[in-house]
Amino acid sequence: MIFNPEHECMDQTARKKLQLANLKNLVEKLYTTVPFYRKKMDALGISSRDIHTLGDIEKLPFTTKDDLRENYPRGLLASPPDRIVEVHMSSGTTGKPVVDEYTQKDIDIWREAMARTLAGGGCTKDDIVQNCYGYGLFTGGPGAHYGAMTIGAEVLPMSSGNTARQLMVMQDFGTTMLTCTPSYALYMAEEAADAGVDLKKLPLSKGCFGAEPWSENMRKEIESRYGMKAYDIYGLTEIIGPGVAFECEAQDGLHINEDLFYPEIIDPETGKHVKRGEKGELVFTTLTKEGTPLLRYRTRDITYFMDEPCSCGRTTVRMHRLFGRTDDMLIIRGVNVFPSQIEHALFGIEGTEPQYLIVVNRGESHLDEVELLVEVKQEFFSDETRGLETLRNKIQDVMKSKLQIGLKVKLVEPKTIERSIGKAKRVIDNRKL
């Protein structure tokens, strides 16, 4: 189902016209209301009068996460405080949190964006949506909640955690759609198996999963364990929360709500646009937001644009599922490694559970050493060391050939790697760099 065919299937020339008009308005608004942006634009000698085409966006300054932190809590507010109706912020585990403040119009934009997103995953007014994204300052819970309500579906606002109760409600209320992080979906599937609940027999048929990068093989794992379709969704607190981009039934790239969030892909080193279709860092400009609109926000997420027409009929540009982030990219002995690559390689190997932990140490020889802790399926254990050693060597060989780095695999017992109910912690980097 396409929630808003008028906008999602709009002729591209018409959309570009709309984007340009909104971009000009935004630049004007930011210049007059946010001193931070006025200073940046003055330094570059640029104003809204210099924006004639969408390509002129390259003249405008970037916004980074550091900018947001330095302006914490309300330095980037572009509307009078009395017009703000809701506030969200990131967890701030790596510094000051980043804040998103919403006017009523911003909430309406979010509702629209999330309704499109869930509809992309097949949600209709007849669905019962079990929303296990966290509620609170985190955008995940409320975002999915608003979207499902906008479609007219029934929402079970579970938040994350209390898995036994999640499974009870799932069975007793006949949940048809699941929204949570992909790692929590797998965790719940595991708990369900332990409790003797056959997820495949439940009415649950689809789910929208996001808030952390995941791989195609993880999708297959979720789909087979639940007997459902699993869709990738993308968003970030800085831009609106979830609802920035989403997969449709084609499961071939994520449609960006580009009439609302203007995307660019840049070379993270030079800041210049990459050639269309090439990989780079994703950048967003919030074209229509009022509370805390951002100009050219550098997401640090790595992807590329997919311009080929999609079979679903939407004309919005798609982005490939994330390849990782510029900032959780591990550089191991000079080789760039994304945890998602390790995950993808691991999931293709029989005998392993989809639970792993990457531990990076700098050894005595000043070389980086990577240890990959992998949980082994219960059935795969035997009374002989040979089978397990073969499995360990196989994992090491696969990693070597796919990642070009040697890492040491340590097999651990099922259920010994710490489970997460939110974003999974996949990397422990002990290097002091």
């Binding site: 219960q378 002989e384 060391t385 360990r392 097999l411």
Partner: protein
């Protein structure tokens, strides 16, 4: 007849073996034979106990990964050359031994050797055909 052996996966961290024995002690399980195969990263503890079901239940509840497998417990005379004779029988019949270890069980003058064989049926036949006795209950 073959008997059941319980294998327990042990991550190479301190205290894990102690935990296994503690769990078994608390469940009043008597260990009749024990051996460990260790690698640099993990170990596999092999146990013959008096109450298999209770042992598995207790170990699983304590979070251990276990597995049951079939082994043969052969009684041999406790004197030089006895084991060599059994080995020779297996070798002549091309019965491959995966591993073996000795049991605490044993009447005076006897020893019991636990064999994990590649071909269990064939191995059992050779043992009985040659007048050796196997222990069926510990």
């Amino acid at each position: 007849m073959q008997i059941k052996q319980i294998s327990v996966f042990l991550e190479n961290s301190s205290g894990r073996l102690g935990e296994v024995t503690k769990v078994l002690a608390e469940a009043a399980i008597n260990i009749r034979a024990i051996s460990i195969a260790d690698t640099a990263d993990f170990g596999i503890l092999r146990l013959i106990v008096d109450k298999n079901d209770d042992a598995i239940t207790a170990l699983t509840k304590a979070g251990f990964t276990t597995r049951l497998s079939d082994v043969v417990a052969v009684e041999v005379v406790d004197s030089p050359g006895s084991l060599a004779k059994v080995m020779e029988l297996f070798q002549n019949s091309k019965v491959n031994i995966e591993y073996l270890y000795a049991s605490l069980e044993g009447k005076t003058g006897k020893a019991v050797i636990i064999f994990k064989l590649e071909n269990l049926e064939q191995g059992l036949k050779i043992v009985t055909d040659n007048g050796l006795s196997v222990v069926e209950k510990f």
